[in-house]
């Protein structure tokens, strides 16, 4: 962050949006998946994105950590333009953690090792210090005692909580959750949601794609509804659920609630 010769982004201050999505378009070949989406996320906010399957929710949040590059528009994370060919992806991904629907743990490493790997390999941090932190994170996601279990020996919900701890080990400023409970059975959904709720309450900036409406209503500061590549409407949860404006939102909520 010292005087870098590269076009330095104006220093970000916490009163500005931590993520700023401006008119983002994304096409896969000739198929336009995102047709101009915009949103601002402030530090410490929990944002839920909901919408029918195929509406581009995953694509949108995957653009935020540059897993998918955008075709047009702009995304900034702490004022750093993500859509910049010279982007330092490591720097971005340190700030933005991501948890996936299928957990995607590294099957050849124990739970503890999964949490420790990236800080050691990527950030070259001291192993002892990382291990101490990793054990605390395992405890935080309520998996004390499972440190030495391999992913194949853990239930889906446990694996997903290891995945959350693994992301947190990088000390991100923002966490992205892509339908992280969709592959879980109903009993285990709760244990994962509790963990996420705690994170949000501690002030972690969270962006969640979810179908858990009750959770969204309880936890979200703001809800975005997407359909066919556009943001149809967005509002605080009470307003969104009790008083939806757009027909598409009403239909969707009618089907799901």
């Amino acid at each position: 962050m010292a005087a870098a010769p590269a076009p330095a982004a104006p220093a970000w201050t916490p009163d500005e949006p931590i993520i700023r999505v401006t008119d983002v378009h994304k096409s896969f070949g000739s198929f336009e998946v995102l047709k101009g989406m915009s949103m601002d996320v402030r530090k410490g906010e929990a944002i839920c994105i909901i919408g029918p399957s195929g509406s581009g929710k995953s694509t949108l949040i995957r653009c935020m950590n540059a897993l998918v590059d955008i075709t047009k528009g702009s995304i900034t994370v702490e004022n750093q333009e993500v859509n910049d060919p010279n982007l330092d992806k490591l720097k971005l991904r340190r700030k933005v953690g991501m948890v996936f629907q299928q957990y995607n743990l590294f099957p050849h490493k124990t739970a503890l090792q999964n949490v420790m790997m990236a800080p050691i390999n990527v950030l070259k941090q001291d192993k002892k210090e990382v291990e101490e932190r990793a054990r605390k994170l395992i405890a935080k996601v309520r998996l004390t005692g499972k440190e030495n279990s391999y992913p194949g020996e853990l239930s889906g919900g446990q694996q997903q909580r290891v995945a959350i701890a693994r992301s947190l080990a990088m000390r991100p400023d923002i966490m992205l959750f892509d339908e992280v409970t969709a592959a879980l059975d109903p009993e285990t959904v709760k244990e994962v949601l509790v963990t996420i709720r705690e994170l949000a309450e501690e002030g972690m900036t969270c962006i969640l794609v979810t179908h858990e409406m009750k959770f969204a209503r309880d936890v979200a500061d703001h809800i975005y509804f997407t359909d066919k590549g556009v943001i149809v409407e967005h509002a605080p949860p009470e307003e969104f659920f009790d008083n939806p404006k757009d027909e598409r939102t009403k239909t969707f909520l009618g089907q799901i609630l």
Binding site: P107, A118, V122, Y150, P151
Partner: protein
């Protein structure tokens, strides 16, 4: 033709006993010169195997990585290499290097002022065998790499891993476990293929045995000894590979599943 040996040499005594009582002439037991030739033949076979095995694994790992390169010409180069070495007999490859390439290289002067080829026959054998087994290893590793789900690589990317970091820390350790059985086969094959170095006079097991049976006129005996020796060598390799496979097994993953 009774043989005399110094009393403490039990192996030689055994050889003599066998010769006296059965007529089977195991000169590798009671003849010191033959025994030395034979043992050093085994040593050379092991040396060729271990060194070629090492380099072939490196070729496999690096080649499989380069096959995923963004540069088309690198991928083509690797594929060309694989085609050439997979589709030609290993003996022809050894001749190609030893008689073909070697003569094109400059020679060097040794300590006593003789012109010597830049590389010895042993070095050419190792070079050639490494490339031969390496070409197969690339293919084997690639199949293992392709078995690693994209979503796993994506998770690594999301944690800030570079492509190389993902390959070294995640893809390769998983791929190796997937392709160990195929790798096992190829390395056994490599050990057996070292016998082709005979053709360029590398004093490995087959070459040493042939010298012994020519001198001692015990062809059938040495044939049996030779076969059994290879069986034992391959047996040790297979045992080591299986031990490796077991040590790498992960509970709940692949072959480790269900434990």
């Amino acid at each position: 033709m009774a043989c005399d040996v110094a009393p403490p040499d039990v192996i030689a005594a055994a050889g003599c006993w066998i010769l006296d009582h059965t007529g089977v002439n195991l000169t590798i037991l009671h003849d010191e010169f033959d025994r030395r030739r034979f043992v050093s033949g085994i040593g050379m076979t092991i040396w060729l195997s271990v060194v070629s095995l090492f380099f072939s694994l490196i070729i496999g790992v690096v080649g499989a990585w380069a096959q995923g390169s963004d540069y088309k010409w690198i991928r083509r180069l690797i594929n060309g290499f694989i085609v050439v070495f997979r589709n030609t007999p290993p003996l022809v490859q050894i001749f190609f290097f030893y008689f073909g390439i070697s003569t094109l290289l400059p020679s060097v002067e040794d300590d006593v002022g003789m012109r010597q080829p830049l590389f010895s026959n042993i070095q050419w054998a190792i070079f050639s065998l490494s490339l031969f087994a390496g070409a197969f290893n690339i293919e084997i590793f690639r199949s293992g790499i392709e078995a690693v789900p994209n979503s796993t690589k994506e998770a690594a990317a999301a944690l800030g891993y570079t492509r190389l970091g993902t390959y070294l820390h995640i893809v390769l350790p998983l791929a190796i476990r997937v392709c160990l059985p195929a790798l096992n086969n190829n390395l056994v094959n490599l050990l057996k293929t070292t016998s082709l170095a005979y053709a360029i006079a590398v004093p490995e097991l087959l070459y040493a045995s042939k010298n012994i049976w020519t001198d001692a006129q015990n062809v059938p005996t040495m044939m049996v000894v030779l076969l059994l020796t290879y069986v034992a060598l391959v047996g040790v390799l297979v045992w080591a590979m299986n031990a490796w496979e077991r040590s790498m097994a992960i509970p709940g993953f692949g072959q480790g599943r269900g434990r």
